[in-house]
């Protein structure tokens, strides 16, 4: 179910109504869980079974770790089994086809078990909910307190299962994040009241999120459709550069828009979800970029992968290797294709080189700041090509057109589209860069009113969120 559909609006209104009825207060968690399952299974009901299996595995493991297993050895074995089960689900559904495509000769790939593996459907949001499951298992293993001060109500296995099911499937963040860690979310599971809603934050996030998605990303999507083979071969270099920046703006508006909607919806139900984007395109180093882009994923990878690998405390060479491994795996997390791995390795390589040269400390100073900002933005925009184009060969073809595409034409609509809709992304970042005293804060309601007007009159053709495929 899409956030920008009437069906979702109906589900939201009904859920909101039932959720805050005082007589039904004790069913708040159940109400949201039910709404989340409807949200998830609306187009493919059979996927709910997989989600419930994943929930049950994680709830079982978490319960054992929190209340049953005592000895370090059983705790370690239980946690390892829980993490392995999550990775097995993710690996089977997401990477089996990639492995078949890579290692089985094409002639044999369409026969027997290989053919079945090749055609396994990718369950929507699987990368997100398995990571939340891993977070629960690891938090429980580390003994991080996940329960709110509830007098031990979660000792009851049924209630524990219900809370974990709610944590993993909470519909605002189920399909495309932000990835919420168990110790951040579970303590918030308490009774909520209508008067407790932070309306300003909810409205601000929802309007900005829907605007980013429906106006900026969906309109840019129709222009960046040219960023596909063979269409880009017909375009002159200025249009190709516009396409590169256009996709950079689009993917930001699409994903940041989704995250803002999720955060706004979370506020409507009394839950605070973590910020996922912190004006990433103002970053002046790649390490800064990764503290601003998809924060919930990068902090997950840092906490549950980079640090366990030794982080930056194991010598320079191992640190660089760790960065490359983590980013390579992070790339593969995004999609089951080697182009995603290349994208991740490219970023890992940039992070390692930056650290080697000592540029990761974000030097300041007029010209240097502008240069480093420009370098990071250009590199990040270039790297998105590995996201958008399905093969490295096509990326190379794009680059060769970029360097000279004799006789090709510029496309007025693409140039205009990127300039107009990209301007909103630029303005959004400029707002953040402005010193606080110079921000026209008084105008915020008027700006939000105009953005709401543009949502109603200027939305593009609805498109799926880019991160749904992950």
């Amino acid at each position: 179910m899409l956030f920008n559909s009437y069906v979702f609006l109906a589900l939201l209104v009904v859920t909101f109504g039932v959720y805050y009825v005082p007589a039904l207060a004790r069913f708040q968690v159940f109400t949201l869980l039910l709404a989340s399952l409807i949200f998830y299974g609306y187009t493919q009901p059979d996927l709910v079974i997989l989600l419930l299996v994943s929930i049950t595995i994680n709830a079982g493991t978490g319960y054992l770790l929190e209340y049953v297993c005592v000895t370090p050895r059983t705790r370690w074995l239980t946690a390892a089994a829980g993490v392995a089960a999550n990775l097995a689900i993710l690996g089977f559904f997401k990477y089996a086809a990639l492995l078949v495509r890579t290692f089985v000769p094409a002639a044999q790939a369409e026969q027997g078990i290989a053919a079945q593996l090749l055609h396994i459907p990718l369950p929507i949001g699987i990368s997100f909910f398995t990571f939340q499951g891993i977070s629960l298992v690891v938090d429980a293993y580390r003994g991080i307190r996940t329960a709110s001060d509830d007098g031990g109500r979660r000792r009851h296995l049924g209630i524990y299962w219900l809370d974990i099911a709610f944590f993993i499937s909470f519909f605002p963040q189920l399909i495309a994040g932000p990835i919420v860690k168990a110790h951040e979310f579970l303590p918030q599971v308490t009774r909520k009241f209508l008067h407790g809603i932070q309306w300003n934050l909810a409205i601000q996030n929802l309007i900005l999120g829907y605007f980013m998605k429906m106006v900026v990303a969906d309109n840019l999507k129709d222009q960046t459709a040219w960023l596909a083979y063979p269409f880009f071969t017909e375009l002159a270099p200025p249009t190709l550069v516009a396409l590169l920046f256009g996709y950079s703006f689009q993917i930001f508006a699409d994903f940041a828009g989704y995250s803002l909607i999720a955060i706004g919806l979370g506020h409507l139900f009394g839950y605070t979800l973590p910020m996922n984007f912190n004006f990433p395109y103002i970053a002046r180093s790649f390490s800064e970029f990764w503290t601003r882009w998809h924060i919930s994923l990068s902090s997950f990878l840092r906490e549950y992968l980079y640090i366990p690998l030794g982080g930056n405390r194991v010598g320079a060479a191992r640190t660089y290797l760790n960065l490359i491994i983590v980013m390579g795996l992070g790339g593969l997390w995004h999609g089951a294709g080697w182009n995603y791995a290349v994208w991740g390795l490219f970023h890992g390589g940039l992070l390692a080189v930056e650290r080697l040269l000592g540029f990761n400390r974000g030097r300041t100073g007029g010209v240097w700041s502008v240069f480093s900002w420009g370098w990071v933005f250009l590199s990040v925009s270039f790297a998105w090509l590995f996201f958008k184009l399905p093969s490295v060969t096509q990326v190379m073809q794009f680059c060769s057109c970029l360097l000279g595409n004799g006789g090709a034409r510029n496309n007025f609509s693409v140039l205009m589209g990127v300039a107009v809709f990209g301007a909103f992304v630029v303005a959004y970042h400029v707002w953040h860069v402005l010193p606080e005293r110079r921000r026209p804060v008084m105008l915020i309601p008027a700006i939000l009113g105009v953005l709401a007007f543009l949502i109603v009159t200027n939305s593009g053709t609805p498109g799926e969120f880019i991160y749904f495929q992950f």
Binding site: I203, I207, G417, F421, L448, G449, A452, T461
Partner: protein, 288 residues
Amino acid sequence: MRFPLQVLLAFVATLGLWSVVVHWGEPNRELFGQNFLQRNVIRVEEYLRHRADAEVVLIGSSISERIDEASVGPRCVNLGLVKDHALTGARVIAAGHTKPRVLLVEMGLTNLEDGIGDELLAKVFAFDEVHLWSKWRLFEDRYQPSTVLFATLKSAAERARPPTAERDEEGFERWLRRTVELYAQRPDPSLAGDYARELRRVLSELRTAGVRVWLFAPPVDAAILATPRQQEVSQLFDSAFPPTEWPRLVVPGEYHTDDGVHLLRPEGKRFGAALRSALAARGVTQTD
């Protein structure tokens, strides 16, 4: 609750202001869209909402889109759709409330694999579009603020540098080569067969509803005529639409294109006028 109220007030004020601009200013007079799909949506919305009483409707792809509808007649609408084909136009007419007297159908097999017709139909005939948004001009795609901005800038650019009637011969040769390469590939036989069958079904329905249907072949460069795809078009249409059952509108003459298949704009006017004469010769005249 002061903050939400302020936001609501700003929203209503902007909406009201834009409504005034649209009603009294008519800010986008051209059928200009920001992209292929929107260009088609604007064309179809214009037909369904304001010109559904057209007597002659022309359906086809971007090749037909170049034909100047005003030259065909004062009550002619051109539903030539970019990156699409005649079947989508036929479906639009079949779904509309009023039907034209005459339908001119392009014989072609373009965009069978990557046509954007389904997206167009889903948008134009969506429940909320038909029953809610279509009641206000404000919500027509041509009046999207960004579309108005694009159209204004484009016409300003054209005023500063008017398009020439002359063809860029060097560019033409290059684009012609590309088109010949493209037309060297035959369309997927099953897709082409399905397309012809479905087009025939929809056109038969329209004929039953009293619409006179003529098929026509848009003029193409001589180099295109011998290509496998163009020959496939002739063969397929001759077998699916035998000329004895489905009359052709033959328009003789040579016309200049900018890539072998797309008419130059001035030539689109000339071909439109020739279509008008051909229709008049068959007794079809349009009321002013």
